[in-house]
C-alpha cells in the first residue's frame, strides 16, 4: 500500500559511512602538518620521543631473539607500533593506573615496571604479576581489560584521586562484548578512563574490514556516549598530544575518552606460531613500512642536527645489553612454587586453602 517508505534506511546507513578526520602532526614524509603543536615541543623532547621508539624497537628485536632461543614464554611482537605505544604512555603520569593487554609490555615498562618483571610475566612466574608500576598484569582475554579499567576508574573516582585509568585493546578487541560493556559503564558513571584502541589492521589473521561493518572504530564509543578520535598511529607527536589532551579533559571531570590509533604490526601476532604471509600480502604491507614511525622522526631530528646514525647504533647496543642483563636477572629467580601461587589467591586464606598451602610446603621442603 505505502508507496513511500516511512524511513530511509539507505540514507541512514550512508551517513554512517563518513570517515572521521585523522589527526596528524607530522606526515609520513616528515612534513609538518600542525605547526602550532610541533612548535610546542622542545628539541630535547623531540629527541626523547625518538629515544623511546628506538628503545621499543630494540626491546622487540632482542626479545624476539630470546623467544627463538627458547628463553621466553608468550611474546607478542610490537615492531611497527612504537609511536602509538610510546606516544600514549608518555602522556600519562606515574599515578595513573595502566591496564595493559599482552601487546602492551613496552608501555608497562615505560610506566615503571622493570624489564625483568616483564620477562617473568612472559614466563608465567608469579613475580611477573607484581610490578613496580601502578598497573595490573597484562590481560590475555581480548577486550577484558576494558572492564577492569571501568572498575579501577570507579575506584579512582571514589577515592578522589588526581589520576586516570588507561587501557589498550586492538581492532579485534572492539568486537568483544567486554569492550563495549567497559566503555558503557565508564560512560554511565562518567569515570576517569582512557580507552585506547590500537588498530593494527589484523586480529591475528582476521582483517579489520571483516571485523565490523563500522567504517571507523571510533564509532564504537558513540553508543556509550563517549567522545572518540582517530589518530595517525605512526606519528608519535600526534599520539602523545592527543593522549595528553584526553588526559586533561578526563581529569577535569568530563568522563571517559576513546582514542583509535591507526598502526600496523610488522610481524606475527604472537610467538605462538602464526605465519603472517598466509593472511597478508607484501604489497598490502609495504605502504605501512614506508610510514614507519622511526623514519619520520629520524628525518626531522637529522634535519635539525639533533640525531645521527652512530648515535642511534650506540643506543641500540646499550639498550640490547640492558635487556641481556635483565634476562640474566630473570633467570636467577627461584623457580615458582605451587605454594607461592596458592598464597596469592586470597589475602586471608580460607581453611581449605591453608591446608593446601601446608600440603604443598611439606612436599616442596623435601
Amino acid at each position: 500500500m505505502a508507496s513511500k517508505s516511512i524511513v530511509d534506511f539507505a540514507k541512514i546507513k550512508e551517513d554512517l559511512s563518513d570517515l572521521p578526520k585523522q589527526i596528524q602532526v607530522v606526515d609520513e614524509n616528515a612534513k609538518i602538518i600542525d605547526q602550532d603543536v610541533f612548535k610546542s615541543f622542545s628539541d630535547d623532547q623531540l629527541v626523547e620521543f625518538m629515544k623511546k621508539m628506538v628503545w621499543e624497537r630494540a626491546l622487540h628485536e632482542q626479545t624476539m631473539n630470546f623467544s627463538r632461543q627458547g628463553r621466553m614464554g608468550f611474546y607478542a611482537p610490537t615492531a611497527g607500533e612504537e609511536a602509538t605505544e610510546m606516544g600514549t604512555v608518555m602522556a600519562m603520569e606515574k599515578q595513573d593506573y595502566l591496564l595493559p593487554a599482552y601487546r602492551d609490555i613496552p608501555q608497562l615498562i615505560q610506566h615503571g615496571a622493570t624489564v625483568t618483571e616483564a620477562y617473568w610475566w612472559s614466563r608465567g612466574h608469579v613475580r611477573g604479576n607484581e610490578f613496580s608500576a601502578r598497573a595490573l598484569m597484562p590481560q590475555i582475554i581480548i577486550g577484558a581489560a576494558y572492564l577492569e579499567t571501568a572498575g579501577v576508574a570507579m575506584g579512582l573516582k571514589k577515592n578522589g584521586e588526581d589520576a586516570i585509568a588507561f587501557t589498550y585493546t586492538g581492532d579485534g578487541g572492539t568486537s568483544q562484548g567486554d569492550s563495549y560493556e567497559g566503555m558503557n559503564f565508564a560512560g554511565a558513571y562518567q569515570l576517569p578512563a582512557l580507552f585506547i584502541v590500537q588498530n593494527n589492521g589484523y586480529a591475528i589473521s582476521t582483517p579489520r574490514k571483516k571485523q565490523t561493518a563500522a567504517v571507523a572504530l571510533t564509532q564504537k564509543a558513540i553508543a556509550a556516549g563517549i567522545p572518540s578520535v582517530q589518530v595517525d598511529g605512526m606519528d608519535i607527536l600526534a599520539c602523545y598530544s592527543v593522549a595528553k589532551a584526553a588526559r586533561e579533559y578526563i581529569l577535569a571531570g568530563n568522563g571517559p575518552v576513546m582514542i583509535e590509533t591507526l598502526t600496523n604490526r610488522y610481524g606475527a601476532h604472537s610467538s605462538a606460531g602464526d605465519d603472517p604471509s598466509r593472511y597478508r600480502t607484501k604489497e598490502e604491507q609495504q605502504p605501512w613500512l614506508d610510514r614507519d614511525p622511526l623514519i619520520r622522526m629520524r628525518k626531522i631530528l637529522t634535519d635539525k642536527n639533533l640525531w645521527s646514525q652512530e648515535q642511534e647504533d650506540k643506543l641500540v647496543e646499550e639498550y640490547k645489553n640492558s635487556f641481556k642483563e635483565a634476562i640474566k636477572e630473570a633467570d636467577a629467580v627461584e623457580p615458582e612454587k605451587v605454594s607461592d601461587m596458592l598464597k596469592r589467591t586470597f589475602e586471608v586464606p580460607t581453611p581449605e586453602l591453608k591446608a593446601e598451602i601446608a600440603e604443598f610446603e611439606e612436599k616442596e621442603s623435601k
Binding site: Q62, N65, R68, Q69, G70, S271, A272, G273, R278, K324
Partner: protein, 424 residues
C-alpha cells in the same frame, strides 16, 4: 664446559621440526644472537639465534633430521659448566626410538590414561578431533608427547586390534610395532645406493597417498574423446585471453565441464563419513587442480567454480600454481574440495590410475591430446584429436555404471564445447 642448545617450542602445539640448514659449522666462533640454524615446522621456517657466545663444539642434529622439542641441536663451548642432564641427552640422540626412553617419559608423565573409563588424558583439540574422525578412543592411546600429551603420531601408531579389552593401556603394549610391521629396506649392495631423508612435504604426500589407498577401494575407468571443436574454440579465444593477461589452457574447459557433471551426478561431489555411515553431499563446486612443483605436489582448488567464467577460472589456475611454486598457498585454498583434476597431458602420456585426494571420492586424470585415427559419425575414418581421460572413483559410493554415465556426460561436453555454454 659446554652449553647445549635445545629445540625451543617455536609455535603453539608444535611437537617437532626439521633441521633445514645449518648456518654455522663445528669449530666456528660465534657471538650471542648470531644465527645458528634454520628449523622448518609444517610450512614455516624459523632462524634460531644463539643464546650464548662461544665455539661450536658439536652439531648434534644434522640437516634433514627431525627433532623434537627439547632435543639438543648443537653443543657450544661457552666456558660454562656442563648442564646436569648431560648423560640423558647424549644417549637420547642415539636412541631416540628406544623403548627405554619411552617408558621413562610415560613414567614421569602426570596423567597417562590408566584407570577404567578414565577420560583424564591430555591431548590437543585437533588431536581429539583426529581421533574421533578415525573412531579411536583416546583413553586407550599411550601418550609419548611432552607432559604426557597424546600426539597425532600416537593416534596413527595406535593399533586397534592390539589394544587390550580393558581400558588399561600400558605404554609398552602400544608402542610395540603394529601387527604387520613394514620390514626395513635391506640391500646386498648398499655401497651402490645412497640414502636421503624425506622432506616434510614428501612425507605428507607419502602418508596421504598410502592412507587413500588403504581407506578407499579405487576403481579406474578409462575413456577418450575427440576434441577438435574444443581446440578450435581455445585457439579462437586464446589471444583475447592473452590480451587480458590470461593464459587459456584446456584445464578451465575441463573445470567447467566437471562442474556440469557434478551437478548431474551429485555422488561425485561427496564425501563419506565412515564414523556415522553417512554420505555427505556438497552443495558447492570447488575443483582441485593437482599442481606439481619442485618442492612437492599441492592441490589448491578453484572455489565456487560454478559461479565463475572460463577466463576467471583460467586466471585463478595460474595464480594458484604460482602460489604453489612460491610456497604461498594458504591451507584454506587446499581444503573443502569437490573433486580433483590431475593433468599430466602437458608433459605427455595417456591413461593412468590417479589416487583419490581424500576425503573426496573421485579424481580425473587428463592425458595429452594426440592425433589418432578414429571412426567419425558418418562411418569414415578420420584423423582426430583424442584426449585420454582416466577417472578413479571410490567404489564404496560409486558403481561402474554410474561412473561410465558420468564419463559419457563429460565426453559429450568436451566433444562439443557449445554444450558447455548450455550447461556449464
Amino acid at each position: 664446559m659446554a652449553f647445549k642448545f635445545k629445540l625451543p617450542e617455536l609455535g603453539e602445539g608444535m611437537a617437532e621440526g626439521e633441521v633445514a640448514n645449518w648456518l654455522v659449522k663445528e669449530g666456528d666462533e660465534i657471538k650471542e644472537d648470531d644465527s645458528l640454524v634454520e628449523i622448518q615446522n609444517d610450512k614455516s621456517v624459523s632462524e634460531l639465534p644463539s643464546p650464548v657466545s662461544g665455539k661450536v663444539q658439536k652439531i648434534v642434529a644434522q640437516e634433514g633430521d627431525t627433532v623434537e622439542i627439547g632435543d639438543t641441536l648443537v653443543v657450544i663451548d661457552d666456558g660454562s659448566a656442563d648442564t646436569d642432564d648431560d648423560a640423558e641427552d647424549t644417549a637420547a640422540n642415539d636412541t631416540k626410538e628406544s623403548s627405554a626412553k619411552d617408558d621413562n617419559k610415560s613414567a614421569t608423565a602426570p596423567a597417562p590414561a590408566t584407570g577404567s573409563a578414565n577420560k583424564d588424558y591430555l591431548a590437543m583439540p585437533s588431536v581429539r578431533q583426529y581421533a574421533r574422525d578415525k573412531g579411536i578412543d583416546l583413553s586407550q592411546v599411550a601418550p609419548s608427547g611432552k607432559h604426557g600429551q597424546i600426539t597425532k603420531a600416537d593416534v596413527d601408531n595406535f593399533n586397534v586390534a592390539a589394544a587390550p579389552a580393558t581400558n588399561v593401556a600400558p605404554a609398552a603394549s602400544v608402542s610395540e610395532p603394529a601387527a604387520t610391521p613394514i620390514a626395513p629396506y635391506k640391500s646386498d649392495t648398499p655401497e651402490l645406493e645412497t640414502r636421503e631423508k624425506m622432506s616434510m612435504t614428501r612425507k605428507v604426500i607419502a602418508k596421504a597417498m598410502s592412507e587413500s589407498k588403504k581407506i578407499t577401494p579405487h576403481v579406474t575407468s578409462f575413456d577418450e574423446v575427440e576434441v577438435s571443436a574444443l581446440m578450435a574454440n581455445r585457439k579462437k579465444y586464446k589471444q583475447i585471453a592473452a590480451d587480458r593477461g590470461i593464459k587459456l589452457t584446456f584445464l578451465p574447459y575441463l573445470v567447467k565441464a566437471i562442474v556440469a557433471v557434478l551437478k548431474e551426478f551429485p555422488e561425485f561431489n561427496a564425501s563419506i563419513d565412515s564414523t556415522t555411515n553417512e554420505i555427505v553431499y556438497k552443495h558447492y563446486y570447488n575443483i582441485g587442480i593437482a599442481t606439481d612443483t619442485d618442492h612437492g605436489l599441492y592441490v589448491p582448488n578453484i572455489k565456487n567454480a560454478d559461479a565463475k567464467g572460463l577466463f576467471e577460472i583460467a586466471k585463478e589456475i595460474t595464480e594458484n600454481s604460482q602460489a604453489a611454486y612460491d610456497n604461498k598457498l594458504s591451507a584454506a585454498s587446499m581444503r573443502g574440495g569437490s573433486i580433483t583434476i590431475s593433468n599430466v597431458g602437458s608433459i605427455g602420456g595417456g591413461w593412468f590410475t590417479p589416487v583419490i585426494n581424500q576425503p573426496e571420492v573421485a579424481i580425473l586424470g587428463m592425458g595429452k591430446i594426440a592425433k589418432e585415427p578414429y571412426v567419425a559419425e558418418d562411418g569414415t575414418i578420420k584423423v582426430g584429436n583424442m584426449l585420454k581421460l582416466s577417472m578413479s572413483y571410490d567404489h564404496r559410493l560409486i558403481d561402474g555404471a554410474l561412473a561410465q554415465r558420468a564419463l559419457n556426460k563429460l565426453n559429450e561436453l568436451l566433444h562439443d564445447p557449445d554444450m558447455l555454454l548450455m550447461e556449464g
